[in-house]
């Protein structure tokens, strides 16, 4: 019954060691100072910290890569300075959704004390950080997330990308004209972005006299077989389909649209994400003839854009996408804002953004509207074979 003399103390030692090391490790990792008093926002010094939060993992990683490239290209073209001040970029991984994106953004604001945040692909994440951004007085420049309600004029939320409804709305009148009397079937992935896109399209389409043949919302992220919905569209007698899909869903949808024979009788229209970036490469020839609306195309024929495409292609060996331009313009916005700002803290930067006029951009000049969304041109694009590679050729501008 005699206990081994050396064994028992080990139990306690393990616990104590574990506890102390946990405390030490986390204390070392922290900037210290405790979390029982309110933090003051930073703003001293010449170097300005900008947080860049984009997906570095998960299904949206390709968009994150494009956005980082766009932002860094602008910095490179301006010797790492925005508004005459040296810039320190702090990167964070947004991941796939708000469960990773919200902590990542919060870390940039509370831990790294950035003076502005750029990025965000996922709308749910952006909506989740909105309150933090406002209460911490750190301006957020959304470089992709498209939820209609995200930018509502709040002083600290600005957007250089788009809103889902506006993209859909831009296409309505043109489609009504092109299909004539035939009705149009609308389809989208069943989440907020899809619903908003369809709503925008229907608004302008029906106002221009068009009729809707039917509507399908397909389960988001879990649908790989669109044939039942494509069949419905075909059986409804529609002359065209308007669809909102992005990423892998866009690839599957367009390929099946071709494989099940709809491409011969039913014209496919969509929001530009249907054929943007890596998605087009995966769709290949199946995407020929698909018409989409977006605020940018790499084939846009202006001097400004050609210079941009050349610089981007040389730096990264790939053509730019709308995602890259959105981030590029975010840097441009910060450049102009920091130039005119009275200080370098978040509040001063936000105020300066509010004073900005027109931004010169590869997509054409644009400015912020009252909701802090870009008032910008939208283009009708068609997938064509241009000099051996597939691209979104610009047919015409959709709005004035």
């Amino acid at each position: 019954m005699a206990a081994h003399p050396r064994r028992r103390p080990k139990t306690v030692r393990i616990f104590v060691a574990g506890a102390t090391s946990m405390v030490l490790a986390t204390a070392l990792a922290a900037c210290g100072g405790g979390s029982l008093s309110s933090e003051s926002s930073s703003g001293g010094g010449d170097s300005v910290k900008i947080g860049l939060v984009v997906p570095a993992s998960g299904v949206y990683e390709p968009l994150g890569i494009d956005m980082t490239r766009g932002f860094e290209l602008y910095l490179e073209q301006h010797s790492g300075e925005l508004g005459g001040r040296e810039i320190e970029v702090v990167e964070a991984d947004e991941g796939e959704g708000p469960d990773t994106g919200v902590p990542a953004t919060t870390k940039l604001i509370t831990q790294d004390r950035v003076q502005a945040v750029v990025g965000l692909v996922n709308s749910a994440t952006a909506l989740g950080v909105k309150e933090t951004v406002v209460s911490s007085e750190v301006p957020l420049i959304v470089a992709n997330a498209g939820a209609d309600d995200l930018a509502d004029g709040s002083e600290y939320v600005w957007r250089t990308s788009f809103s889902n409804g506006a993209v859909g709305e831009s296409l309505g009148a043109t489609v009504a004209e092109e299909v004539g009397d035939a009705p149009v079937y609308v389809m989208a992935a069943d989440y907020a972005a899809g619903a908003e896109s369809i709503a925008g399209f229907k608004k302008s389409f029906e106002a221009a006299g068009g009729t809707i043949a039917g509507e399908s919302l397909t389960p988001f992220g879990t649908t790989s077989d669109y044939q039942p919905y494509l069949s419905k569209a075909q059986n409804s007698g529609a002359g065209a389909i308007y669809a909102f899909y992005a990423g892998a869903e866009a690839v599957s949808f367009v390929k099946q649209y071709k494989a099940f024979g709809l491409s011969e009788s039913v014209q496919l229209y969509g929001a530009g994400f249907l054929t943007e970036g890596g998605v087009l490469a995966a769709q290949g020839q199946d995407a020929l003839g698909v018409k989409t609306a977006l605020h940018y195309s790499s084939l846009l024929d202006t001097t400004e854009n050609q210079e941009f495409v050349e610089a981007y292609t040389e730096a990264y060996d790939a053509p730019p996408t709308a995602y890259a331009v959105q981030a590029y313009d975010a840097a441009a916005v910060l450049d102009a804002a920091l130039e005119g700002a009275e200080g370098t803290d978040g509040a001063a930067i936000a105020a300066a953004i509010g004073e900005l006029g027109e931004i010169a951009s590869p997509r054409g000049p644009w400015s912020f509207d009252d909701d802090h969304n870009p008032a910008q041109p939208y283009f009708l694009r068609e997938v064509q074979d241009v000099d051996g590679t597939l691209g979104n050729a610009v047919v015409n501008q959709l709005n004035e």
Binding site: V59, G247, A259
Partner: protein
Amino acid sequence: MGWLDANLISILNGVALAALLFMIAVGLSLVFGTMDVLNLAHGAISLAGAYVGVAMLDPGGGLGDFLVAVLAAAALGLVLGAALATMTSVVTSHLRQALLTLGIALIAAAVLTEIFGADVESVPAPSGLAGSVDLLGKQYPLYRLVVIGIAVLIALVLYVVLERTSVGAIVRATVADRGMVEALGIRSSLVLAGVFGFGAALASVGGLLAGPVLGAQPGLDNTVLLLALVVVVIGGLGSIRGALLGALLVGQVQTLGVSLLPEQASFLLFGAMALVLLLRPQGLLPARTATGAHS
């Protein structure tokens, strides 16, 4: 006839999806039935097979190129399966097997993303089979019809091998009484590694064949793993006939089911699985003791 006319294509799609799921899932069921190992790296193996297609196939490539890719995928699967067999042989509890194989799956997925990038990739079908045929007045992709044929062939081969050949007899004997098999001079560990390797090869080839339908991208391994688990559990662990029936059921739920009940589409699969398991926990066609000592 009107109903059939409207839904024939959906039903056929369901059978095509079932064919792919069967090929991918049967390895999972076999490995569990014979070796009592829960292999959560199965989805990653299937994705690796799809990426073999991405690496080796170009649009417009012929049937020969495709067959070479199939062989490469099978070889890769064999190697991965044998490696997994060795790694899991020391771990006996199902939960620890889950921990190990999921860890391996995470590492494998990260490696694949590192090599191939995060973009969605397409796997082109062989040029002769890439087109569509006329089926009762509607267009249908020829490739999917071929895939159905291949799955039927594989199911037949599996049945014949396991039930009618001596190799199959050895496998069934190893499951029933390992000690006796060892006493006869056959190294049972080799047999089991062989089963694992074969199951993984099927998964890898299945992933390649599914490439033109499902593509290849990060995250697909989780989707496929989940579907495969549902298939084998509905069908009955360790049973090949069960995997076939499970695949057919899942295939129809995902296609015809979604077409008929679009509002409930995202709940159909797991709802159906829960229903089957609550009514018949051992699965629809549970294994007879010969091919699986565990019900």
